[in-house]
Assembly symmetry: C2
Homo-oligomer: 452 residues x 2
């Protein structure tokens, strides 16, 4: 029997884990610098919590967990005979696997509101599961790393999230472009061209500008039922160029008659102006074609792209004004970002920008020549560990060659050994695996050498 | 609609996460000190990997995941009508949730053997799921933190695992007793009393000595079909007292005719003697009544108990000689331990032995008096963060009282504020929340004060 793992899932090797931990730790440290606190929620949520939150397509992509025990006891023969997969699933299963971190977070806030001090700034890094068709870079089990602030509608939160993004990618050594837009501006645009009800169609079309070009966007708008006049009015907005300030000035004129639109301009201006005084390391660009999950966001929208690697958005987020409303707790505004850890992993691999010590491996290996030599070495092994050095002693007294190839495979930089001579001298031979240099020294000197 | 979470699962609050992270990080650091490397495996495994590995009871406790899409398409009307829960589940589901970390690790070793350098020392900390009846201290989602060495039958591995256990609990500040036994000794005992085939019954009975007392143990042995003579022969073993050396000497005499038994004595002697030269901080005790999952272990068995808290075993493990055999790869010996993280969490809570800085919270909060004051503060906020200080600025300019109670709730030790006077002086007022002391100083002085 040849074992396998479910398609779309992955094992992570020590080297992959070391790199992923570096990514997780870096993001975590920055969140903590901004006063965010970690929470975790269960892998399984009730289907009542999950269903209907991600659209019809999302409901289908939920992994459902079969009720334990006699899961058929509540199912009538008629229901079975009907063979309706979706309806029957609701009888067979009452739990599903987490689909994202946002809905569980909303559920968390509602269930724990009594103990929460608002504004609540939380980060959460956990896997999520989707029964999507697996393909390159798309998995059925993947990781999200979300940060959200709920219970405050201050735009300072948007400012801080942009600072967090900027700091994280600076620490990674990855050059990014941060794109920002505002749902209220999009609403305003739809209003002033007299197509408020078509806002979704319009933004879906505009969102494709990069991929399909202006002519095709206009064609799509026509197919969506926009008049030539309306499309004409949209042109200066779609093709808007210039600095962020220039764009904002232009758009403020266009949106002069839309209260909502002007509010969006004002919000965006505050965010960009404040960030200007703080001096981000990466460019932040106003992009009116940025849409992202419109049904959801109500204010600022952001997205991050890597400048030196061809890959989709690696981080995104925005302001939502009624996330907890679905669980009966209205009036809580929130804003958040989600780091796409799997894509960031790909980007850091492509640019090879992991620090050397990220792998955190063994620093010193003691060779095993047999029982007597091992007994001689063990106190030194313990001493090295007490000094904080990651130390191994090869457990079996096999051929020297095998032990050395173990050291090479694990990229261990120092090897220590003791035979008759070393034991007589109460010392050890230390070999620097990079230079090949050998020296007969005491364990204290070895520790000093390695920690130097 | 009032949201809830599946029974037996938990949300973890920021404070709980901080404590859990302290536990995970401490164990992780010790594993790394010994050259262990982290891996992760998917939450879902194929049912082919999981089924039949945990006994009949275990199969029932597996959470099974409904096939996605039209999961009924492969089920005949007859199979549905039969209403056999177990048989039908095999048709409806081909994946299940991880039940422990050991079987996925065996599967990992087999699937990745080409890339592994043996001996392979891995640690893994991930949740596992069991459809057990939830009760106090028993959850349906809980965490395991396993360390294993495979591909080496050297007893040095057992020695190092005991050192790891000793170091971990020393770092926690928790006094423990480490118990050790050896499956070969148990086999030897069954052999010399002429009841080799009754080894499971014997160890199950002896294992209960602490709970039910000697008389009841003997009664149970009689019920298991042991003769009075056999039970008589067992008495010196069950009631064995004295130092580890004394116990080993006695048992060696008893087992004089059992080759396997003597091998077990020799192995135990080596482990204990070597540990004696290394000087553990906690007591290690030979306990012949220690059995633990007999079908599984083939050599040393260990278990750890907290001395100052009444709770079951908090860590356990042992040597297994054929873990990967179930996946078609025989001859790989391994030895491992599993830290029971949820129980360790309970122990550390009971003894209140978390270090003060374990929570890693916000160190400095800037009060928000309005737009002008905030603009004045923001560069100082950035400066504090650059210095590595966990810093927040309250996002909304609400009442001072609300902001101060936020600081109190999050136990933030320092609060900074700036009004007309501070801005005129190009300084800030720093309030020490513990002493109540206030001083008008520069941001550089604030940073120095907090980092001091």
């Amino acid at each position: 029997m040849k074992p396998s793992i479910p398609k779309g899932t992955r094992d992570f090797s020590p080297m992959e884990m070391a790199k992923r931990n570096y990514i997780f730790d870096t993001i975590k440290q920055v969140y903590q610098l901004y006063g965010f606190q970690q929470i975790e929620t269960p892998a399984m949520e009730t289907l009542g919590t999950l269903m209907g939150k991600y659209g019809e397509e999302g409901d289908k992509l939920l992994f459902k967990v079969l009720n334990s025990g006699d899961y058929l006891s509540k199912v009538t023969p008629e229901e079975l005979a009907e063979r309706n997969s979706l309806r029957l699933a609701a009888k067979l299963c009452e739990k599903g696997l987490r689909y994202d971190l946002t809905v569980p977070f909303a559920r968390y806030v509602v269930m724990h509101r009594e103990e929460l001090q608002l504004p609540f700034k939380r980060y959460q890094m956990q896997p999520v599961w989707r029964a999507d068709r697996p393909q390159k870079g798309r998995y059925r089990e993947f990781w999200q790393f979300d940060g959200d602030i709920v219970g405050s509608d201050s735009l300072l939160n948007e400012v801080e999230l942009m600072q967090i993004v900027d700091t994280v990618f600076s620490r990674f050594g990855v050059r990014v472009q941060i794109k920002i837009n505002n749902r209220k501006i999009l609403t305003g645009i739809a209003e002033v061209i007299g197509a408020a009800e078509k806002i979704v169609d319009i933004t879906v079309a505009i969102d494709k500008l990069d991929k399909i070009g202006l002519d095709n966007v206009n064609q799509e708008l026509r197919e969506d039922g926009l008049s030539d006049e309306q499309i004409e009015k949209l042109q200066p907005i779609i093709s808007l160029e210039g600095t962020n300030d220039e764009k904002l000035n232009t758009i403020a004129e266009v949106l002069a008659t839309s209260e909502t639109g002007l509010k969006g301009v004002e919000e965006t201006r505050f965010i960009l102006d404040t960030l200007k005084t703080l001096g981000l390391k990466n460019e932040i660009q106003l992009d009116l074609t940025l849409a992202r999950g419109l049904n959801y966001y109500t204010g600022a929208i952001f997205e991050v792209k890597a400048l030196d690697v061809q890959i989709g958005s690696i981080t995104g987020g925005g302001r939502y004004d009624n996330l907890t409303g679905i669980f009966g707790m209205p009036g809580i505004s929130g804003v958040g970002i989600s780091f796409g850890v799997d894509r960031i992993f790909d980007v850091l691999n492509a640019l090879d920008c992991y620090p050397k010590d990220a792998t955190n491996g063994t620093q010193l290996l003691f060779i095993n020549f047999g029982e007597k030599e091992t007994a001689y070495c063990l106190p030194s092994v313990a001493k090295a560990r007490e000094a904080g050095i990651h130390t191994e002693i090869f457990p079996d007294s096999t051929k020297m060659k095998k032990q050395m190839s173990y050291a090479n495979a694990k990229q261990i930089p120092f090897v220590a050994l003791a035979g008759e001579n070393e034991m007589a001298a109460d010392k050890l031979t230390l070999k620097n695996m990079e230079t090949g240099e050998q020296s007969l020294i005491t364990i204290d000197e070895i520790i000093k050498t390695i920690l130097a």
